[in-house]
């Protein structure tokens, strides 16, 4: 399922933005459909709003903090989150360093996944788009099959490989390196989930570059690698950007792989929230809401920044 730009169709039939005829009662249709679709979504959006607002409140909100509701708006939760004074009563003490470390860990995993996914799929996508080799077609089909296949069903075996690899790693690099190795393995395992789709997307981007460009460079005496790096890569930059964003968000949001493979001391925002909700008293939920809001920020930023790109790539192929 190639990511494809739909070209605007020529002629007057393609000029107007809408697909339907103009003489129908658009306003009423928009109103009815808009209300219906909006009402379906409104409760969920309301929950998001309550979560974000609760992070600025002394108690979890169950309705909007209108004047007179007795809700007091405060930055205390965010202070507690960053000062690391969460709930000594619950036996969990985080220090300032902890939350910064947690954010950094999350970033490291996300950026690691991004780097691996981009590097591997930009290279492979080029090969599938442009190079002739044996099994090309079969291999591509196999990769699309993997795209459909739920990689997470293999997590037991992936963990078994991890356990097996711990021995040699300990021998080679010493005990102290195991935490770093767990990050490394998490990144590779999580990135692999994204690889099949990313290769397919990247192949689509390369497919769109005219052959003549490449031919003329080859005729001018450039090597394949030079052509790839100097001629093609600059032209697929938007594709790489899209891929990087998706990979980053995938790494950023991951819970399962981080939880399974990372050393227990190495926390990310996902596992931090998981533990806090499970371990803290309900009274501290606003602090967790602050952590959740913090966790949501990159997602929302990318979400707003890449709107159309996002929709297009989504229609290209994404795991449902």
């Amino acid at each position: 399922m190639a990511l494809r730009l739909r070209l605007r169709r020529g002629g007057p039939a393609g000029e107007a933005a809408g697909a339907d005829v103009e003489t129908l009662e658009r306003r009423r249709l928009n109103l009815v459909l808009g209300l219906a679709v909006g009402l379906g979504l409104a409760p969920v959006l309301y929950l998001y709003l309550l979560l974000v607002l609760s992070s600025f409140s002394n108690t979890m909100l169950t309705s909007l903090p209108l004047p007179g509701s007795g809700v007091e708006l405060t930055l205390r939760n965010w202070e507690m989150l960053f000062r690391g004074q969460v709930a000594p009563a619950a036996g969990k003490i985080y220090t300032t360093r902890d939350i910064v470390l947690i954010i950094l860990n999350t970033l490291v995993v996300a950026l690691g996944v991004t780097a691996v996914v981009v590097a591997a799929s930009v290279m492979a996508g080029y090969a599938f788009s442009r190079l002739r080799f044996r099994w090309r077609r079969g291999l591509m089909e196999f990769i699309i099959l993997l795209h459909a296949f739920p990689g997470v069903a293999l997590i037991i075996a992936v963990y078994a490989v991890y356990v097996w690899s711990l021995g040699p790693v300990r021998e080679l690099l010493g005990r102290d390196s195991l935490a770093a190795y767990s990050v490394f393995y998490t990144v590779l395992a999580r990135a692999s989930l994204e690889i099949p789709m990313s290769i397919w997307l990247m192949k689509g981007f390369f497919d769109r570059i005219p052959w003549e460009v490449e031919w003329s460079a080859l005729i001018d005496g450039a090597s394949r690698f030079t052509v790839w790096r100097r001629i093609l890569l600059p032209q697929v930059k938007p594709g790489i950007a899209a891929l990087a964003i998706f990979a980053f968000l995938a790494g950023w949001e991951d819970l399962i792989y981080v939880r399974v493979f990372l050393y227990p001391q190495v926390k990310t925002l996902a596992t931090f929230i998981e533990e806090s909700v499970a371990g803290l008293e309900t009274a501290y939920l606003p602090v967790v809401a602050a952590a959740g809001t913090l966790y949501l920020i990159p997602t929302i930023v990318f979400f707003i920044a890449t709107q159309r790109l996002l929709l297009e790539a989504m229609s290209g192929g994404v795991k449902g």
């Binding site: 169709r9 249709l29 929950l47 739920p150 069903a153 075996a157 992936v158 399962i256 989504m314």
Partner: protein, 312 residues
Amino acid sequence: MPGRPRPGPAFFFLLPALALILVFYVVPLILSVYIGFTPLRDWNLQRLGELSLDNYRRLYHLVLHDPDLRKVVQTTIVFTSVTLAVNVLGGLVLALAMFFMDEWLSLPYRLLWLLPRMTPVAVYSLLWYYFFLPGREGILNSWLMSLGLIDEPRAWGKDPELLPYSAWAILVLVNGFVGVSFGMIVFYSALKSIPREQVIAARIDGASTLQLARHVLIPQIRWHIVYVTVWQLLSLLTTFAHIFLLVEWGTLDRAWGSNWALYVFNTAFLTQDQGFAAAAATVLVAVGVVLGLLALRLMRFREMMVEPKGEL
């Protein structure tokens, strides 16, 4: 251009991706099936040598007789089929609504409907955890109490009076909002690729909006519908991240709130019974392969796996 296949550059460019695929797909795929025949426990890899069918016998026995696993099986069937229907039909209805809306309205809506899918699992689950919180602080309880519909706060996902239906409803609700956007996006883009002249022609022929959808639009995206159904079935059978958190956080009853995939995960990483978990996972792996092949065929049917022009 030299016409002879040159394995050199292709191998170089494919190496990183193929290495990852080998280590994280091919080897685990075989290993996963293999572990299912071993008594692996607590990741004691020494036991990988002992092969038997014990795990499958036990699985068969438990499915028939263990009340908890029976609940999990029922939950899996109900959750998967209901959510599938919600996702496919909901996606179709949403896509049609977006199609008939003006772009200025449909673009923000499509984005907003993607929000649950894009939100980190932990945050999205947190929203629902808080919504279904058993105490008075829970949003749902607080709403219903202020409306006078209930007197006492309830533990929605665990209350024996309401189980299993309440747990199922929560599962469908939580996963439905995530899943419905997939169908919406795929269907919407398929609808958009139908030549606009056909819409105009149908309008000139006198079609109402419903007739247009029913006779002209939906028949032309029927393969997309099949495709989305297969794809969604696959992902619903193997999804468990949200459910994992809601069960762990106590929002859902452990048995009635778990699906097969979560059962596998918990057996492997909580109960540390990996041999048995792998046997249970084999079911998922088999379903994954079969449905994956089916999805592949459907994609081929649609896209014909466009060969790049002018291969070098």
